[in-house]
């Protein structure tokens, strides 16, 4: 390492003296960023802080040390970073950061808004921040509120682009060929488009969910196609609770909640195309399914059942009524329990158990 000049040495001495405060600042910023994520409910791919090392600071000061009069002029001794999935979340976190920290607007940059109309490139939001006394104050460490730090908020795609661009030559001594820059900028444009599309899709999906929930609440189930989202909304309305309680009453059993999404492909195969079809399937078969449950559970002392029992027995009844027989039952057990020869034996046992129930003679 070359000999450090006097000015650089002074700044490095200040850095060493400030290190305990910087470490405390790091803790406070880190905790604050984590809390922002918790409070907002935003899902991020990363939230992190890092303190500039002496080695990195020395390199920086050797390049442009004369720019800084004191250690407080350096704004990236501490860096914080959020990496989000969606561009909308960058804006939401930025708004939160503006409320939590003091922002140095003269030195903060939203590179997303800096580009010319015909250019693409590194997109990121950088805020230069300070911890206000309302957030943290320690009379033993008044310097803490003076130190500026950098907060970077970007999407996963922006982060990928920036990281790869950095890795392949940004800031190196060799001039980057124009063609390479053009190719990287083409990619930046494509990723920006992809970011916007992801946000748009999320917004549309949320609108769709709200519409479906409204239709379910209004009982217009025939208008709702059966898919993962709609079935989930339907189940949130607890359409099987009363029926499960009726079954539980056979043995005064407790009901354990279990996931029911596994029934989605089964219901589709049974011919349900809309939530209305599911509702009809349930209502048309629930009395027979109740007889089946009573027949199976009534002679036992089992006093615990799962919340899947109602739907499972309704499917068994539907399969039997459609003439699915042993093959149909095995298919159901394969779907619920994973494929296996033991399900054939189970289908045999079930068939034998229920052979005299009234619905077994319907086809």
């Amino acid at each position: 390492m070359p000999q450090l000049d006097f000015h650089t040495q002074i700044l490095l001495d200040e850095y060493h003296q400030l290190l305990p405060v910087l470490n405390r600042l790091n803790e406070i910023v880190s905790q604050t960023l984590e809390k922002m994520i918790q409070d907002s409910g935003i899902v991020v791919t990363a939230v992190a802080t890092r303190l500039k090392t002496e080695h990195s600071l020395t390199g920086k000061l050797q390049l442009k040390g004369s720019k800084y009069h004191s250690i407080y002029d350096i704004t990236d001794l501490l860096g914080g970073r959020f990496i989000t999935f969606y561009t909308d979340d960058v804006d939401r976190l930025a708004a939160m950061a503006e409320r939590v920290f003091t922002i140095d607007w003269d030195n903060s940059v939203d590179k997303r808004r800096l580009h010319q109309l015909d250019s693409f490139g590194y997109n990121s939001l950088h805020y230069i921040c300070q911890v206000p006394k309302t957030l943290f104050e320690d009379p033993q460490m008044p310097e803490l509120n003076k130190i500026k730090f950098e907060l970077q908020i970007r999407t996963t795609l922006q982060h990928a682009w920036a990281s790869i661009n950095h890795d392949t030559g940004y800031k190196s001594d060799i001039e980057i060929p124009r063609e390479y820059m053009r190719q990287m900028n083409r990619l930046a444009g494509m990723l920006e488009l992809a970011d916007d599309e992801f946000s748009r899709i999320r917004t549309e999906l949320n609108d769709y969910r709200r519409r479906v929930q409204q239709l379910v609440q209004n009982g217009k189930l025939d208008d709702v196609l059966l898919d993962g989202e709609t079935f989930k909304s339907y189940l949130q309305a607890s359409p099987l609770d009363n029926f499960n309680r009726r079954i539980a009453a056979i043995n005064q059993a407790e009901i354990q909640e279990v996931p029911l999404m596994v029934y989605l492909p089964i219901l589709k195969t049974l011919g349900c195309n809309t939530l209305g079809d599911v509702e009809k399937l349930i209502r048309q078969n629930e009395d027979d399914a109740y007889r089946l449950a009573r027949h199976q559970l009534g002679t036992t002392d089992i006093d615990i059942i799962s919340s899947a029992i109602g739907l499972q027995d309704i499917c068994i009844v539907e399969i039997m009524k459609k003439g699915g027989g042993k093959f149909g039952l095995k298919w159901l057990y394969d779907s619920l329990n994973g494929e296996g020869t033991q399900n054939e034996m189970l289908a045999d046992m079930t068939l034998k158990q229920i052979e005299n129930l009234p619905f077994m003679n319907q086809k």
Binding site: P259, I304, S306, G310
Partner: protein, 99 residues
Amino acid sequence: MTTIKQEGNQYVAYFEGRLDTAAAVTTAEDVKPLYDVTNSEIVLDCSKLDYISSSGLRIFLSIRKEAALKNNKVIVRHISDDIRQVFVMTGFVSLFEIQ
């Protein structure tokens, strides 16, 4: 009587005899070491289990619940047809991976 053995990356609980109300108190104590397991596979071996009651099912459910919190996978293996029938009758058949 329930024995727990570590076999490679798996923690295997061997159940024997009848897992009814009378046996449930002891069994619940026997399986407690499984609640400390993390990031592993827990196997509930039922090859010597003759009968399971509601109390036994509750123990299986507790193991599964704790396992889910600690990123463990639970497999139920070698169950008799009668016990498999209990899992079906109660609707728990889709909750466990049964081999």
